[in-house]
Point group: C2
Chain length 316, copies 2
DNA sequence: CTGTTAGCGCTTTCAA
DNA sequence: TTGAAAGCGCTAACAG
């Protein structure tokens, strides 16, 4: 057996001495096939190494059993964990995934969407980003789910930005911390920036804490450089909008010999607490969010589910 | 325009007042179409929002313009960078990618291979791992390329494990270091383990350095715990088989107040040198390796290229 | 239970 | 230059 032959269903039919449709029935697990016949056909299929053409099946049945995934960058830890979750679920449901990178470009996203449509994909899962254009996705109706985006027209799975930060704040307070600062990213980033900052402010209000914060870029370096600005004699903890920021903050604190200050991040990077003991990270549940979005999509595709909005629970 | 209509080539033909085949000719960029006719058809296509069905095209033409990618884990930084490179190249060539995770299981890999074959993918790129079963991939002949695997039967792009370590050693020596230890992973891992250790030993021989090494698991923790065992009064540098290990080593050195010792890793993680100044990382060229593998595959698919083995150059 | 017969949407001869 | 017609490989009625 050297070459992947180009056998068709007809070849198998002849080889097995039956009709095309009987072979098709075996392929589709149609119960009305005599066990003996089925056995024979299956044997021929096995021996010949025949592989039914998905393209033909897709064309005939209408469904290609493919879902498209558009993420911003494959090397984003949050996104690739979520994609793992998606893969996990859709694969078990017999779907495969076509993956594309938007690189944070609304234009690319739309291009990809067009390609996916050509491919007759059954559904699409899109990871949102600041400046993402949802209009084209809306046209997909129940065939689309977006992750990490705030919308009410498309099914979505979003992270609990509010809860994420609240969780960190509560934990810190329950450890006796009173003076808690915050390092975040600019409000131009709606989710990681604005939402998480607001969550901090809201928590402060509720807990009776005097807010002290600064925002910058989403990088170690940025966080490192603005750390001093939220520091005072009495600072007991610093909540960060992400693990990346937390890393920069922790390093700066180490330099300043202020490792008494507890630092929290978001992302569940085990590296953070390995390197800096007085540190913890909130897990937004990337993998779970991926799974949830895939489950949602699949249900929608089978018509069992209306447009829905899910919030992924965070945890330590 | 609310719904994605199910327009066919025939609808467009009618709308444009021409025959099916003329529309098809426009779609395939057949030069023998009168410009006026073409213009008209294109307009109708544009206005109607018609999208040709890839499934049908694939079935007719034989090629689905899809390449399958099997990687071990999406959250492996090395692999997802390489995949980005692959995506980059194949997308420009008009291919799309269906991605699957093997999770280091030879069994899953074969399952995925079978699925991809059903899908009529034009080619496959597989990321190897210890214990990977190449036999099934070999059957694919020129339709397959493997990354990070040592084989002579399948086209491959491999990292220059030897060069990686040699590069680090040379740099260290040129900085005046003489006493250079090594932290790696167990030899059960052929590439990151065995190959890189051998490279270290080989470099030591060439450079007249007394080897001093230890291997363990591929984790911060493991490296952290074995660091002391390669340390002596005069140790001037520690070469690590990966950035993950380097991170553990650097942390331990920091604790021991031995930051005079320079540490090198492999992976080009910018976090490493951000956190630990006396540190550098070799870049194995993941992204470039991905691009190279995709280019190789595409050339093979078009018959312009025989089975080939590429070594990805490393750099600082 | 099983074979025959239509197509699915598209590309590609083959004539016109 | 264009239209008509013949399939690509498969599934789904429709008869036996």
């Amino acid at each position: 057996m050297i070459m992947t032959q180009k056998l068709t269903i007809l070849d198998i039919a002849k080889l097995a001495g039956v009709g095309k449709s009987t072979v098709s029935r075996v392929l589709t697990n149609d119960p009305k096939v005599k066990p003996a016949t089925r056995e024979k056909v299956e044997q021929v299929i096995r021996e010949s190494g025949y592989v039914p053409s998905k393209s033909a099946q897709a064309m005939r049945g209408g469904s290609a059993k493919v879902v498209g995934i558009i993420l911003s960058r494959l090397d984003s830890p949050s996104e690739n964990k979520a994609v793992s979750g998606i893969l996990d679920v859709i694969y078990k449901a017999g779907y495969d995934a076509v993956i594309m990178e938007s690189q944070f470009s609304a234009e690319k996203t739309n291009e990809h969407l067009a390609v996916l449509q050509k491919r007759n994909v059954d559904g699409v899962i899109v990871f949102g980003f600041s400046g993402c254009d949802l209009s084209r996705i809306e046209l997909l109706g129940h065939k689309a789910v977006v992750i990490a985006t705030d919308t009410d027209t498309i099914s979505s799975v979003d992270y609990d930005h509010q809860g994420l930060i609240a969780l960190a704040m509560d934990k810190l307070v329950s450890c006796g911390k009173q003076s808690i600062s915050y390092i975040g990213v600019d409000e131009s980033d709606r989710t990681t920036g604005l939402l998480r900052l607001n969550a901090y402010l809201e928590s402060c209000r509720k807990l009776g804490i005097e807010p002290c914060y600064r925002t910058g870029q989403l990088s170690y370096d940025s966080a490192y450089h603005i750390t001093d600005q939220v520091l005072s004699e009495g600072t007991e903890a610093i909540v960060c909008a992400s693990d990346t920021l937390a890393m920069g903050v922790a390093k700066r604190l180490q330099e300043l010999d202020r490792t008494d200050i507890q630092v929290s991040g978001v992302g569940a990077t085990d590296l953070l607490s390995f390197l800096f003991p007085n540190t913890f990270s909130i897990d937004p549940g990337y993998f779970e969010a991926g799974k949830a979005s895939a489950q949602l999509l699949i249900k929608q595709l089978s018509g069992q589910q209306e447009i829905t909005h899910l919030i992924q629970q965070a945890s330590y």
